[in-house]
Symmetry: C2
Subunit: 210 residues, 2 copies
Amino acid sequence: MNHPSGISELVINRLPRYYRFLGEIMGEGNARISSRELSERMGLTASQIRQDLNCFGGFGQQGYGYNIEQLHSEIGKILGLDQPKKAILIGAGNLGRAIATHMAFESRGFRLIGIFDKKEALKGQIIKGLPVRSVEDLDDFCRENLPTCAILCIPKGEAEELCGTLIARGIEGFWNFSHCDLTLKYPGIVVENVHLGDSLAKLSYNIKNK
Amino acid sequence: MNHPSGISELVINRLPRYYRFLGEIMGEGNARISSRELSERMGLTASQIRQDLNCFGGFGQQGYGYNIEQLHSEIGKILGLDQPKKAILIGAGNLGRAIATHMAFESRGFRLIGIFDKKEALKGQIIKGLPVRSVEDLDDFCRENLPTCAILCIPKGEAEELCGTLIARGIEGFWNFSHCDLTLKYPGIVVENVHLGDSLAKLSYNIKNK
């Protein structure tokens, strides 16, 4: 799959990793890094790094290397991390609760503004400073607060049912922990799947065929 | 990357999804499915499906299609789901706790047999029927119980520190939720990364460039 801008998905998959490594390297006090050093740190080839970064116009200078802080900041902007998007979480079970509590949303381009669950018993519970709301309040909440991203931590059937409603309420992107393939029914949406069961089955294969 | 058997990683990535879809279709009561029908359900082309399954010897019959239950079972065996591997979880914080509680390990090729945390305060707490143990007991536990997989839900630094010890104790595969790249230091190990922060940053990019 090619992106509108013509940048391949493989390059985009690597961008968050560049951002993460540069963030770590920034903490070490050096101002710049050569593509060779960066490549050794990241386990990529230097030419791969130059090619990847050239997709976005290139940032290095011959003989100087990369300014670490500048490159980190530029990649952050490319990823849209400087423009936090409002996100809501659907499903305050074990996984949803852990995601809400564990994730540093702010440093990954998002702001968590609402948590919803259909279980009446959870209503009003506070998770990471936010009260759990009833899914019945989704409509009003979206109209007033305009979130553009939904995090789905609900069973497959519920996710498929809710997805259309969320799109109609202005949700453009889904972080999907539910075991369903939303783009089959809604091809136009942006979805990032975290299919934990598939991931575990793949690990099983790779251990078996080690 | 090619696997020892010469099967590309892209095919292997799709196997758990085949398994998942076939499991759903099995519940609908039909005995067989054509590659065309399966392709429509999964959003792949029929020729893609035939090519993928031919990597493992092929299962369909011209004019008959696939026997759903048989194909599901065969893919399960290919994935190694019929031979449960013993897994231990390191890190009983929000995320580790949710993973232990939420995941159906048994149907994904694993059996969770131990949970460890370095926090003394958590010791003895029961999560999914298992007591949280001290990481100091890891050595003895591994010697007695021979787990081959570790699930890492601990900070980056701790994961990097612990990885070598775990390998020495017989761990062959890692389900890695820690934000570190273990194969850089230990190139021979099997790792399946779930880098949630990277995933979220990628979603940010895709919403921005929608």
